[in-house]
Amino acid sequence: MDFAGNLAYRVHVTTLHALANPARFLKIAKPLTPALFWTGVALIAIGAWAGLTQTPPDYLQGESVRILYIHVPTAWLGMGGWSGVAISSIVYLVWRHPLASIAARAIALPGALFAGLCLATGSIWGRPTWGTWWQWDGRLTSMLLLFFVYLAYIALARADAERGGDGRIPALFGIAGSILLPIIRYSVVWWNTLHQGASITLSGSSIDNAILWPLAFTLTGFSLFFGGIVLMRMRAMLATQRIEARMRRLAA
């Protein structure tokens, strides 16, 4: 590793360790929670107004294209949420930061919700567009599996906490479940699916700008909203841990 790479690694690890301190984390999280949440709500409101009233219908899909403005963010957060669970699980297993374990558990519920919403909005879009509510194709089935994996993780993490576990088993499950992410991503490439291929890539978009632009608002808005929810849940879990520790001290 060269000097710059070594320095970047040290800065990254130092920041990670600094944020792992619950007191320091709360100092940042307290002002950040309403900032993320309300900015997200405002951007979602702009995206909803623009997506429902300001853009033209698609020449093939008609008005149902307006479901895209919520379906894409929910899909992004369903998959992004599990990436967060997996990264937090790795950080917990490698550096043993309890805050990483809390982050993974805090992400799981909103991640499951958005994965479920992705499936529901996709199904609602499919009925007028494909003529069916559901198709057992690669993309839909792999996303449904991710939703079930979220539910299994939530149940496992809860059972582990109730039995006084150290969080290692849910963390291993969090890492193992990430195998689904490339399967979901490349399902439309590997298999001949009813679901269309990627419309938005790093090299550009096949969607016209006249229809595409509100998606930037809903995508950013729902991402910030998701961040706000995760911080709220992390703060609740940290406070609950402090209450339980206090009760244990009083009982001793």
Binding site: L52, I67, A120, F222, F225, R233, R235, A236, A239, L250
Partner: protein, 41 residues
Amino acid sequence: MNAWPFVIAAWALTLSASVIVAAISWRAMRRAETETERPKR
């Protein structure tokens, strides 16, 4: 086929689910943090 009922259903479902999860998370956070701020007995 008129697609507007499907559009409205998808948006209403997403927004209402988002509001519910935000309300539950905010309430849990407030309740737990208020409890920790109480003077120790």
